[in-house]
């Protein structure tokens, strides 16, 4: 009885496997797909996250059999636009883009450039206020990271780690940067739920590890009863961790981004939590959307307007899931996403009124 049940299960599993294999193969790719070219535009490759975005877009392009090129601009919006124009000049309407914009303001210029030339584009992580894909048939989707929700998650992880009471300090990112502003706002909001937590100081370290280290050294002297540290970025968290190590203390601390070194710190137990901003998700699926639209597999105008404003999936990383994430994202450099299943990236939708 038991054996036959096992056999049945095994047969079932095989059937499912066979079915999904055919399902995979059944995605019909246009015959001329190899003629299309995907440009992944990032600010530069000296930043781990942007390099991961480039790698993710290349993975997705490979899955579709589309050649892919990385266009960098050294964070200069004009260089970014010029790079795209050059790419269009080379490949005409066979060019499509997935862009991490040099500045938020550049998103409008990018959408207009692509509309004018008739090239499909997905824009990642930033969107100028009032800029909507529905107004631009070639602006396939906007894929953003929900910094407010993510900041709330790490803030809660920190507050819980210190038992919901005591003194904490906050290290914010670059002043005026929208991610820094949102992650700071999330922390401010989270504070409301923990009345016994006192924020004794909040300073910017401009995303910089050394600056965060110096701040923390001074704070550890000034606030001997400090219980925890909230930071808006992993690099800054790592700086604070080094300062704590030198002072012989180990306080709960959270970051955001999911860099390799931060994941290693969580493995080592010196860091409490971070958010995996998952470049393989946002940039990989961003690439998939652009490719599908370019080669006619997807007509963006048939997607409901509000569903073109997407928050891509991210994950809270703690000691519990860090090993698994480290293995897939860092060691293998491929979390094994199915870039044909476009819906996978949708975590929730952005506010369509902003």
């Amino acid at each position: 009885m038991k054996k036959s049940l096992l056999a049945l299960l095994a047969a079932g599993a095989m059937a499912v496997a066979a079915f999904s294999a055919t399902a995979f193969a059944e995605v019909e790719l246009p015959e001329n797909i190899g003629e299309y070219h995907l440009g992944i535009c990032v600010l530069s490759l000296d930043n781990e996250y942007w390099a991961q975005e480039a790698a993710a877009a290349q993975l997705a392009a490979e899955a579709y059999g589309v050649p892919c090129d990385v266009l960098t601009c050294n964070a200069d919006p004009n260089v970014q636009l010029q790079g795209m124009k050059d790419y269009i000049a080379q490949y005409g309407d066979k060019a499509c883009f997935v862009v991490d914009p040099a500045t938020t303001a550049n998103t409008a210029s990018i959408a207009e450039l692509c509309e004018e030339s008739g090239n499909y584009v997905t824009i990642l992580a930033h969107r100028a206020e009032g800029l909507f894909p529905k107004d631009y048939p070639h602006f396939v989707v906007s894929l953003m990271l929900d910094d407010l929700a993510n900041g709330a998650k790490t803030a809660a992880a920190l507050m819980d780690a210190i038992g919901g009471e005591g003194q904490v300090v906050e290290i914010t990112g670059l002043l005026g940067d929208d991610s820094a502003t949102n992650r700071h706002a999330a922390f401010e909001a989270a504070k409301e739920d923990y009345p016994d937590v006192e924020v004794v100081d909040s300073q910017t370290a401009s995303w910089d590890q050394a600056q965060a280290m110096a701040l923390t050294e001074t704070w550890l002297v000034n606030y001997p009863d400090l219980k925890g540290i909230y930071t808006s970025g992993d690099a800054m968290a790592l700086g604070a961790i080094e300062a704590m190590a030198n002072a012989g203390v180990s306080l709960p601390i959270v970051g955001c981004d999911g860099t390799k070194a931060a994941l290693e710190a969580i493995q080592a137990g010196t860091m409490t939590a971070t958010i995996l901003n998952d470049a393989y998700n946002i940039a990989g699926y961003g690439a998939a959307y652009a490719i599908q639209a370019a080669c006619g597999m997807l007509d963006p105008t048939t997607i409901p307007d509000d569903e073109r404003l997407i928050f891509a999936g991210t994950q809270l990383v703690t000691a519990e899931n860090v090993d698994e994430i480290y293995e897939g994202w860092i060691v293998n450099g491929n979390p094994g996403y199915d870039y044909f299943d476009l819906g996978f990236t949708v975590d929730h939708y952005q506010d369509p009124s902003k």
Binding site: D46, T172, S202, A210, N222, E242, A245, N246, T259
Partner: protein, 341 residues
């Protein structure tokens, strides 16, 4: 007041007037030279009065710790600024040195474990890069800020190639020992940087090379006519500058235990500002070890104090900028050259 002075002048002969003027200038010069020290005393006093923790032993150690890397960078700039040149490659060289050090010592990304030999290799490579920079600058007759800016770009690029965009975390146990170890409460890292600075100061003040640097900064043509080899001296200065920048990069890597190109980011201009705060000149010939030391100390005290005060993060930059402008106004020497750059 002025009229009275002019009136008294009228009664003096031309020779006496000249002597008066020289004396007056000398007096002004003495006051100006004292200003950085006065500034340091005032800054320290303000810190001590407004913040009870400012003079605590742990905070003083923090200040020593936080000034250690700027102090090493200041040795680079001390020589370069004395020539009237600038070295914009410092940040790139630092970034490369930090990244390459992390790559060569025991780390989480590869199986390298060259220890001290890795560090020596880094210092040697960077010194050669500095010599090449100096060679291009002097032989190619290209302004130092163009040459060094370009070399800085190259080094940043190479740094990123070294770690392939994912910064390398260092696991070398000696790094933890150095960054956490103390003698009489003073961190090893600080002692090392003070040692490096002392060597730099000795070279500047007690060697023919140091005197040549001063002479060239004061008047290059005159220096050449006295038999100083201007080209060789300049090349040596840029080699020394890169060596110091790479030492700063290695120390930063020890401090942060992570090697990435951004290690050098925003490290140079605060030190240039510090040296000017300490009475150094951007036109060459003026400044030296004391102005570098005092300037770096004042600057570090200022940033430390602003953190202790818990100044609103949005206002911090504004306050820091205003204080620097006021301080520089007090310490800088007004040159007769028109300020246009």
């Amino acid at each position: 007041m002025n009229n009275k002075w002019e009136a008294s002048m009228e009664t003096l002969s031309v020779g006496e007037q000249f002597a008066e003027k020289v004396k007056d200038n000398a007096r002004k010069d003495r006051i100006r030279r004292m200003m950085p020290i006065i500034l340091l005393v005032v800054m320290t006093a303000i810190g001590a009065i407004t913040q009870k923790n400012f003079f605590s032993a742990r905070n003083l150690v923090n200040i020593l710790y936080q000034m250690s890397i700027p102090l090493v960078i200041s040795v680079s700039l001390m020589f370069v600024l004395l020539l009237g040149s600038i070295d914009l490659s410092i940040e790139g060289v630092m970034g490369f040195a930090g990244s390459f050090t992390a790559f060569l010592v025991q780390n989480r990304t590869n199986s390298n474990n060259f220890g001290i030999f890795g560090i020596i290799l880094v210092l040697v490579i960077c010194t050669c890069v500095g010599a090449i920079t100096g060679f291009i600058h002097t032989k190619g007759r290209i302004a130092s800020f163009i040459t060094t800016y370009a070399v800085g770009q190259v080094m940043t690029g190479v740094a990123v190639l070294v770690y392939n965009s994912t910064p390398i975390a260092v696991t070398e146990p000696a790094f933890a020992t150095i960054s956490q170890g103390r003698i009489l409460g003073i961190p090893y890292l600080t002692l090392m940087s003070f040692g490096i600075f002392a060597i730099g100061a000795i070279i500047l003040n007690f060697t023919a090379f140091g005197r040549a640097v001063y002479a060239i900064g004061d008047n290059e043509t005159a220096a050449a006519s006295t038999g100083i080899n201007v080209t060789a001296t300049k090349i040596k200065v840029f080699a020394l500058s890169a060596l110091m920048a790479s030492a700063a990069g290695v120390l930063m890597c020890i401090r942060l235990k992570l090697g990435q190109s951004s290690i050098g980011l925003n490290q140079m201009f605060p030190v240039v500002t510090s040296i000017v705060l300490g009475g150094g000149s951007l036109y060459g010939g003026k400044g030296g070890a004391l102005s570098a030391f005092v300037g770096v100390l004042v600057y570090t005290e200022l940033t430390n104090w602003l953190t202790l005060m818990g100044v609103d993060t949005y206002l911090r930059g504004v306050i820091q900028g205003i204080i620097i402008i006021v301080a520089v106004t007090l310490t800088i020497e007004r040159t007769r050259k028109t300020i246009s750059k």
